[in-house]
């Protein structure tokens, strides 16, 4: 495995492919020619790339839930319900956690127990075990584009099966589906494995089938500063483009401060366009994730959090919004709760679709700082790789130049401490080894000192913990009780 950011030859791809398809029985079913034909036979309204391009042109924000259960019929029923009752524009298929760890035997056990217990014992749809036929049954039963959403470090076989199965969008990336989702898988390995996935999609593109690719924006989902997730999103976007991916959706997880969140979505698109300008025919869209951290247990309060996420997505004009449910604090939601989250979001998004967040001085400053921070990180990544982004990324994680807060991976430095400032925007309390300039460091420091002064305490890990709990307790900024 010699990692570099260079489009794989078809030979290399096909060689590795042989091994990949042997990882589980169902791999043998995959035939790329048949898959291309199958995609050509699908009606337009099942094409994620097209749907996203339309939404971008119309400047509307589409809604998409998360959802997946163990068995095929129940999964179809669930998605139909979310489309009809929840008015979802785009559909997901969330993959179960065993499949994410390539534990297909355990997934098989989960399918068996789900049949016996007559309820889903898995937290998602085990697509590899269900194989191409199972996937196509899902696609054919639904009247909307369906995306694979998961959290799989080695997602090669899953990609082969679901794409041949008719899915038109694939989430993840070598960083975003490793660092927050694994404990001891090297970055080198996951970038390599995701080059495979991107090369596969590049192959589909060459054959005229555009598959949408979405790096996972929110990472660990809690207090991730925009410049961290932007850096990762842009790296994964570039790595995907190099392998021939054309339709890319970059993501960001809501922090909660409106100005920062709008600035984040705008800079994400602006920066990505700049960095990706060397690739032709790339179509960029954005996805906004409603708050991914701790939720209030009370459903009414949860509706408030969900709505605020919907409002922010619309005001920021994200191309789509991933929706939470009023059961968020309690685990996997019922289909009714899932539809509720969608309907609330749709109401807000529709009411705000003709309203825009206007530049106001503060927005520009926020955008300027996000861009500065992101560029300082990315410049160093390129430096470390001596111009090669893949190598640079591996070295940047070793050096803590890329670092994701609260991540489980041992390949992550874990030096960062983020905290909210007095207006709820997420800042760096400790920026670890991020290669920041004095200006950036001071900007963050001043913002947090202002809050510390207001709360009469020094910014500390306790402040971070207070912030982590705050939204669940009905606040944004975790101020100490007075």
């Amino acid at each position: 495995m010699k990692l570099k950011n260079k489009k794989w030859s078809l030979d290399k791809f096909m060689q590795i492919r042989e091994e990949v398809l042997k990882q589980w029985d169902t791999g043998a079913e995959v035939d790329l020619e048949d898959a291309i034909e199958y995609h050509k036979s699908l009606p337009e309204q099942k094409d994620m790339s097209k749907k996203l391009i339309e939404a971008k042109e119309e400047k509307i924000t589409l809604t998409q839930p998360r959802a997946g259960v163990a068995l095929i019929d129940e999964h179809v029923e669930l998605l139909k319900f979310l489309k009809e009752e929840g008015q979802a524009d785009l559909l997901p298929t969330t993959i179960d956690s065993y499949t994410r760890q390539n534990k297909y035997q355990e997934a098989e056990e989960g399918i068996k127990q789900s049949k016996t217990e007559e309820r889903s014992m898995l937290n998602g749809f085990p697509a590899v075990n269900h194989g191409i036929k199972g996937c196509r049954k899902v696609i054919e039963s639904l009247d909307a584009p369906v995306q694979v959403r998961h959290g799989t470090p080695d997602a090669r076989l899953l990609a082969e099966i679901t794409l041949a199965g008719g899915f038109t969008s694939y989430e993840g990336g070598g960083i975003s589906y490793n660092i927050p989702y694994a404990k001891d898988v090297s970055i080198e390995k996951t970038i390599y494995d995701w080059q495979y996935v991107d090369r596969l999609i590049g192959y589909y593109e060459e054959k005229g089938i555009s598959i949408n690719r979405e790096p996972f924006g929110p990472l660990t989902g809690t207090l991730v500063p925009p410049s961290i997730s932007h850096s990762v999103a842009i790296i994964e976007g570039l790595l995907a483009a190099e392998q021939g991916v054309k339709n890319i959706t970059l993501g960001y997880g809501q922090c909660g401060n409106l100005t920062q969140d709008v600035a984040a979505i705008q800079t994400l698109e602006e920066l990505a366009e700049e960095y990706l300008s060397e690739y032709d025919d790339i179509v960029l869209t954005t996805v906004f994730h409603q708050w991914m951290g701790g939720f209030p247990q009370d459903e009414s309060q949860a509706f408030g959090v969900i709505s605020w996420g919907g409002a922010t997505a619309a005001l920021a004009q994200a191309t789509k919004v991933i929706v939470k449910t009023p059961h968020e604090a309690l685990g996997v939601p019922t289909k009714e709760a899932n539809a509720q989250g969608l309907k609330t979001t749709k109401q807000v998004v529709n009411m705000l679709k003709d309203q825009h967040f206007m530049p106001n001085g503060v927005l520009e400053k926020e955008k300027e700082m996000i861009k500065k921070e992101t560029k300082e990180i990315l410049n160093r990544v390129f430096e470390l790789g001596k111009g090669d982004l893949a190598k640079g990324t591996v070295r940047a994680f070793e050096a803590g130049v890329l670092d994701i807060p609260f991540a489980p991976s041992k390949y992550n430095a874990g030096n960062l401490l983020p905290a909210r400032d007095n207006n709820g925007a997420v800042r760096y309390l400790n920026h670890g080894n991020l290669p920041f300039s004095e200006e950036v460091i001071n900007f963050n420091k001043e913002k947090l000192e202002e809050r510390g002064k207001d709360e009469e305490r020094d910014p500390s890990f306790q402040m971070v913990i207070d912030d982590i709990y705050a939204i669940g307790k009905g606040m944004l900024v975790g101020k100490p009780r007075t």
């Binding site: 179960d96 404990k183 489980p408």
Partner: protein, 138 residues
């Protein structure tokens, strides 16, 4: 008094890392010796860590709904490893979907856990229970 030792971890294919980190912080502050084996931990890792450190308690988190499958046979394996007296605590989103909490609790008590916690509780609650169960005076 000697510090009591706790093995802390997130079981199975679960990657929820933030609660685990906060729990470590809170339990350490409360005066316990914490062996944190982190996320993505199979039953064996909990048991090995408990044997090696002569732990008093194993505290299992499960946030992703597979807890029901992941914990099958855990108590039995503990007994096999000579850990019959080690307290077993578990907490989180233990099953898929919104189910009756009392039923879920009973299910895990029947599986041999000594304490079972619903999602959303603060660390103070298990800490108080630990002190009670381990006979620690404030």
């Amino acid at each position: 008094m000697e510090k009591k030792t706790l093995v802390l971890g997130v079981i199975g294919s679960d990657v929820h890392a933030i609660g685990n980190r906060i729990l470590e912080e809170a339990l350490t502050k409360a005066g316990f010796e914490i062996i944190n084996i982190g996320v993505l931990s199979p039953q064996e890792d909990f048991i090995n860590a408990a044997v090696e450190t002569d732990a008093d308690v194993i505290l299992v988190s499960s946030l992703y709904g597979h807890g029901e499958i992941d914990c099958q046979g855990f108590k039995e394996k503990c007994i096999e490893a000579g850990l019959e007296d080690v307290l077993l605590y578990i907490g989180g989103n233990l099953v898929i979907g919104k189910q009756n909490w009392e039923e879920t609790k009973k299910k895990f008590l029947d599986m041999g856990f000594d304490r079972v916690y619903p999602p959303g509780i603060l660390p103070e609650e298990p800490i108080a229970d630990l002190k009670k169960d381990l006979g620690i005076k404030e």
